[in-house]
């Protein structure tokens, strides 16, 4: 094994996001005001790294695998991985309390906890034992995979499929010709829906002589749909995207400069 790789990018990362925070913490223990300011300074550095990296291809900043920006990206995937227990602790706290005090609906909290513990235990076992969480070498499922296939995925897919119903009920309620704007909304929705499927073929199904006419009408509706989607729809989307992106970019600058800091639980005065 050769010595540790100390290229410029890694060293800078170590200084900015390892040593400076540790120094900041030590100072923060002494001077409470630094508990607020130091994180904002470190945040500023973290925020400009990807922006500089967009324009400066220097190796220490941008090279894949060793530049500051791609490397920091790697770090933060890990940091996000550390975050999940924060949520799990809260879930266990809330539900264990409900079960403990036999509050209303405590049985469901118990079901939740059992689900979490069983699935979590299979997952941890799979990851730690090296057996994995997918399939065993003989092609059979691990318990984790089995529960994923027969419990997790069907539930996920079914909740997702509720949308088909909610699309129908929302359309019925919302698409009314109340005023000009609502009427435009309604007409666009109906035209596009009618153009996506052979609707006229369905209507002409019992009347064979009408079918050729219905088929060409369906095709025409298809072209109308395509025109709406590519024309007015994508123009408006571009407008939304440009406006929102400018607003987002301004907000990003405010965050990086520390003007916007509510995400740290810091008010204006802090």
């Amino acid at each position: 094994m050769t010595g540790l790789h100390f290229d410029t990018g890694r060293v800078l990362l170590l200084v900015c996001f390892g040593i400076v925070p540790l120094v900041g913490i030590a100072l923060g223990l002494l001077a409470p005001s630094l508990r607020r300011q130091m994180p904002l300074i470190v945040a500023f550095v973290a925020g400009i790294v990807p922006i500089l990296s967009l324009y400066i291809p220097k190796r220490f900043l941008s090279a894949a695998g060793e530049g500051m920006s791609p490397r920091l990206d790697q770090y933060l995937i890990i940091v996000a991985g550390f975050a999940l227990p924060l949520g799990i602790v809260n879930v266990i706290q809330i539900n264990a309390r409900k079960v403990g005090r036999t509050e209303k609906g405590w049985v469901f909290s118990l079901v939740l906890l059992i689900g979490l513990l069983v699935m979590g235990a299979f997952g941890i076992y799979g990851a730690v034992s090296g057996a994995g969480i997918g399939f065993l070498p003989d092609g059979s499922s691990t318990p984790f995979q089995w529960m994923t296939d027969w419990l997790f995925r069907p539930l996920q897919a079914t909740i997702f499929s509720l949308l088909a119903f909610f699309m129908a009920s929302a359309a019925f309620r919302a698409f009314r010709a109340r005023n000009v704007e609502a009427t435009i909304l309604l007409v666009a929705a109906v035209l596009v829906m009618a153009g996506r499927v052979p609707l006229f073929d369905l209507l002409a199904y019992p009347f064979p002589p009408l079918q050729p006419a219905a088929a060409s009408l369906s095709q025409m509706m298809g072209r109308v749909t395509e025109w709406i989607m590519d024309g007015p729809n994508s123009a408006a989307q571009a407008g939304i995207i440009i406006g929102a992106a400018l607003g987002a970019a301004a907000m990003a600058i405010r965050v990086i400069l520390g003007i916007e800091r509510s995400y740290l639980g810091l008010g204006k005065g802090d």
């Binding site: 092609g139 995925r153 829906m193 989607m229």
Partner: protein, 307 residues
């Protein structure tokens, strides 16, 4: 309370009931609504028809369970089409969440319909690999680098499917500088068929087609279909099955060409794009009908209120 008010305030569960019926009835008893075939589907079908027996093609499962109802019929239709034409098929899955399970299920289902097809000779399932872009780049150099073994862990090096079509082809592959016989790179495939939801489908076009020249046909979900029209226009795509409608069109083209498949696609034991399209039409009709009734009641009610 007037009739109009009652219609406007209808319990939404009645709408839900109609939705369920509009989906279930076509699945149980398909209408087989005539689906007008679009140019992009016909182009895809014609290209696959132009393949010769013994040609080798690549089928990639680049979608997950959430879009399986749209994408499964495309992948299975393509497998059937290839088997009917005696074209060899290499299958892989590049979609991280659940792509492999879908590939295994689809291959097993279609292979059971064609018992004469031999695994390893007529088709092979290479399984899932992480990092679609990197995998594709490696496929352009050496397939074995990307997929040393198939899904069951069997080394692919000796599989008959990767041997050249005509045994008489002299060894000494052009440009390889060595004594290489058989199929080594994705460039030697006659076609890549990617059934895709997200970005992976685009990689096949912008990476594999652009760099290694393999023709590509795509089967995207309806939502992502529009962006691929540009690739058809520029010739980077040989064809496209756009969403469930594209799958239904493709099925009808197959059934028209191969009468035995027409019977098969009418059987009730199987889900097909054609049935899906019937259900889609039904639901769209139900929603439009309710919007229509709601507006009639609203406008008449408003007029009544005024007088």
């Amino acid at each position: 309370m007037s009739l109009f008010d009652r219609l406007l305030g209808i319990d939404r569960r009645w709408i839900f009931l109609f939705v369920v019926l509009a989906v279930t009835i076509p699945i149980l008893a398909p209408l087989g609504l005539p689906v007008t075939t679009t140019g992009s589907t016909r182009a895809a079908f014609d290209y696959i028809e132009s393949l010769a027996p013994g040609d080798i093609v690549w089928l990639s499962f680049d979608y997950g369970p959430s879009s399986a109802p749209e994408n499964d019929p495309m992948a299975e239709g393509f497998l059937r089409h290839c088997f009917l034409k005696n074209v060899r098929v290499v299958v892989c899955a590049l979609y991280p969440l659940g792509g492999l399970g879908l590939a295994n299920a689809s291959v097993a289902r279609v292979a059971a319909e064609f018992p004469e097809k031999k695994y390893g000779t007529d088709y092979v399932n290479l399984g899932y690999k992480d990092g679609a872009e990197a995998v594709m780049r490696r496929l352009g150099e050496n397939i074995e680098d990307a997929f040393p073994t198939d899904v069951n862990g069997q080394p692919i090096s000796n599989m008959p499917i990767f041997q050249p079509k005509h045994q008489t082809i002299p060894s000494g592959d052009a440009g390889m500088g060595g004594n290489v016989a058989g199929i080594r790179t994705i460039g030697q495939f006659k076609l890549v068929f990617t059934v895709a939801t997200g970005l992976i489908g685009e990689y096949w076009i912008t990476l594999v087609n652009a760099q290694f020249g393999t023709p590509v046909i795509i089967g995207p979900t309806a939502v992502s279909a529009p962006k691929y029209y540009a690739f058809i226009g520029s010739g980077q795509l040989k064809g496209m099955l756009g969403g469930m409608k594209g799958a239904a069109e493709y099925e009808q083209l197959i059934a028209r060409k191969y009468p035995q498949m027409a019977k098969f696609y009418r059987s009730t034991r199987l889900f097909t794009g054609t049935k899906g399209m019937d259900a889609q039409t039904g639901i769209h009709a139900v929603i439009i009908l309710f919007i229509f009734l709601g507006n009639v009641a609203f406008l008449l009610g408003r007029r009544q209120g005024r007088t």
